[in-house]
């Protein structure tokens, strides 16, 4: 491992200049942004919107961690605490994690990686953003003005019968933004089928495209079920139809079946794009083809399919029949196989690679480590007997944060840093990027490793006060969360700065291989001056050198 480059990958020798015309300076009016059909501009609209949601949900998390600094419930009231974790969960899941990589990086990169001028349905793409922002605004308003205390899962009968909070309008916002997901997924599927460049066969596609394809399948197949479920919930709460209330002939567990039929696959909507980004990063910064390309490609599809077969593992102690529990437990273990394939293949790609530890690579390595811990602790929870002890404890909280924050957010930030020179045409300051990546890794572990312990010892989740013996672990966790806060705030500052002031990047600062690096940074509105042709396999280095225009 003595061939690790300590410098950022080869800044262009002569002072590079931005291209004279590109998608950012094509027009400057508000209209040219808010009525744009350019996938790159829409990606930036999404970037701005999800960042706002992320910040608000992050503040809620910090408030919760502050409350949990002491065992007594002293900072906020119990009711406020319930509203905080609901706000945090709803905003993070539906308005940050699920849209993050698809709508920002997917929107920006997919057409260019395919050698296309835009997505298949550019106007649908814009509609998707409006639906997202519309639904998001409604939900945000309900969560802050009214407040909702059900948790992000809206379990019945609490959400339909007992909760005196703004459930209906919150759910309506999630319902509307779900259509944004469906349209985006549809758009990606059609684009990948129909707009590939000449010579770009399925098995020459970058692995990010494969993972986005698998994600889109889930978006299209699962999101309608969420929409139906929320509609049933609204009908029961508003009109008194008996779907979930036993007194009206309903079944409370039916809600959980329907909800988790969407929400477990939704975890893969969040993590699969992260895996796709990591495949790109590992290939680019090891300067090698991803080991076992086809297996990695198919493991994305396998995860998408298996993801639909395991939802009952959220209901082991909810009153589901023991036989169903057994089936879902066994099926849940299946998901470990394609996930492990990915981790092993990334690791094998590193072997004898020409590794450089630039910022995106640091995030990618963080992803691999944290995702592995998150995945393996999932096996604990999939075990029927152990789950009885661990359900509704901080062990679960730690587990899914390892997947969603340790995995997904690391992948997202890695991708943002990787494609930033393409998005903005400029480089951020490398040491700041590395500092943020390392700080995020440290802060993350300090936040969530103690929660595994607290949960294993029996600390229940979703309470604003706790028994004093858990205080040490909670102080560690709160300390870690504040470090994590710094690690997430810092990129916001230096990326924004570099957008206007950073050093000019040139077309391919990382010497990466994808088609998106063969066009100027920032790209022209129609992406390529001449439609590219593909003659080699994905990640093939000699080919990349030849294709450098």
């Amino acid at each position: 491992m003595n061939n690790i480059a300590s410098m950022p990958a080869s800044p262009p020798a002569e002072a590079a200049r931005l291209p004279a015309r590109h998608y950012l300076n094509e027009a400057h009016t508000l209209r040219s942004w808010f009525l744009t059909t350019d996938h790159k501009r829409i990606a930036l609209l999404f970037l701005a919107s999800i960042t706002v949601f992320f910040l608000i949900a992050g503040v809620a998390a910090l408030l919760m961690r502050l409350e949990l600094l002491t065992p007594e419930g002293d900072l906020v009231q119990a009711e406020t605490y319930n509203r905080l974790f609901t706000l945090h969960g709803v905003l993070m899941v539906w308005f940050f994690l699920i849209p993050s990589i698809p709508t920002v990086l997917g929107n920006f990169a997919i057409p260019m990686m395919l050698g296309a001028r835009d997505l298949a349905f550019p106007r649908l793409n814009l509609i998707s953003w409006y639906l997202f922002v519309g639904g998001g605004t409604l939900t945000l308003y309900s969560l802050i003005k009214g407040g909702v205390d059900t948790g992000w899962t809206f379990y019945t009968p609490y959400s339909t019968l007992y909760s005196n909070s703004a459930v209906l309008s919150t759910v309506a916002g999630v319902f509307v933004s779900g259509f944004s997901s469906i349209l985006t997924g549809l758009n990606f599927i059609v684009t990948i089928h129909t707009l590939r460049a000449r010579g770009l066969t399925w098995f020459r596609l970058p692995l990010f495209i494969w993972s986005m394809y698998a994600t889109s399948l889930i978006l299209v197949l699962a999101t309608p079920v969420l929409a139906i479920t929320l509609l049933l919930l609204a009908m029961e709460r508003f009109f008194g139809f008996g779907f979930f209330d036993p007194r009206l002939g309903g079944d409370p567990l039916l809600f959980q079946h329907l909800f988790w039929f969407y929400s477990h696959p939704a975890v893969y909507i969040m993590i699969l794009p992260g895996m796709g980004v990591v495949s790109e990063l590992v290939a680019a910064f090891s300067r090698r083809r991803v080991f076992g390309y086809k297996v990695v490609a198919f493991s994305s599809l396998a995860i998408a399919v298996y993801g639909f077969l395991v939802w009952g593992h959220h209901m082991f102690v909810a009153g589901q029949s023991p036989y169903a529990g057994l089936v879902f437990s066994a099926l849940s273990y299946l998901v470990a196989i394609p996930s492990a394939i990915k981790v092993f293949n990334w690791t094998a790609t590193l072997y004898k690679g020409d590794i450089s530890l630039d910022t995106p690579m640091l995030y990618a390595l963080g992803f691999i480590g944290l995702f592995t811990i998150g995945g393996l602790t999932g096996l604990f929870l999939a075990a029927l007997g152990l789950d009885v002890h661990l359900t509704d404890t901080y062990f679960v909280v730690a587990h899914f944060h390892f997947i969603m924050v340790g995995g997904m957010v690391m992948g997202y930030l890695g991708g943002i840093h990787y494609w930033w020179p393409k998005i903005s045409g400029r480089l951020y300051t490398e040491w700041m990027g590395r500092f943020s990546a390392i700080t995020a890794f440290v802060g993350f572990n300090l936040t969530f490793l103690p929660q595994f312990l607290a949960g294993y010892l029996g600390m229940p989740r979703r309470y604003w006060a706790y028994a004093p013996e858990y205080q040490v672990l909670n102080v560690m966790s709160t300390l870690g969360a504040s470090i994590l806060g710094v690690a997430y705030a810092f990129p916001l500052i230096y990326l924004t700065w570099s957008f206007w002031k950073g050093q000019v990047a040139g077309p391919n600062p990382w010497e990466a291989t994808g088609l998106e690096w063969r066009t100027p940074s920032p790209p022209p509105t129609h992406n390529f001056e001449t439609p590219p042709r593909v003659t080699g396999e994905a990640y093939e280095r000699s080919h990349a050198a030849r294709g450098e225009a």
Binding site: L221, V225, F261, L309, G312, M315, G319, S321, P322, F328
Partner: protein, 98 residues
């Protein structure tokens, strides 16, 4: 690759399918007024299936679409089977008072 062809039903044809669907709806309501035990459910589901096929073939234009769209439509139904089938693994094996 041609996924979609332009042809489809004429407006009159669309109206006809619409009328057939409304007639089937009326039939469903009419049948619900009788008490035939398990047959109520079977008949209602049979009518719903006919409606579904009509909508998929004509309103969703599957009849005039390429193979790729058939695969996607089939996948949608298959996913519905997963949802119903695995949920039944719970409901059909419950014991006790619930």
């Amino acid at each position: 690759m041609a996924v979609n062809s332009k042809e489809g039903l004429s407006p009159a044809g669309i109206a006809l399918i619409g009328i057939v669907l409304l007639a089937l709806l009326a039939l469903t309501i009419a049948i619900a007024r009788f008490h035939w035990g398990a047959w109520n459910l079977i008949l209602a589901m049979a009518i719903a299936t006919v409606k579904l096929i009509l909508i998929a073939l004509y309103f969703m234009r599957l009849r005039y679409s390429g193979r790729t769209l058939w695969v996607f439509a089939a996948a949608g139904f298959f996913w519905l089977l997963i949802l119903v089938g695995l949920s039944l693994s719970d409901y059909l094996t419950r014991r006790g008072p619930y």
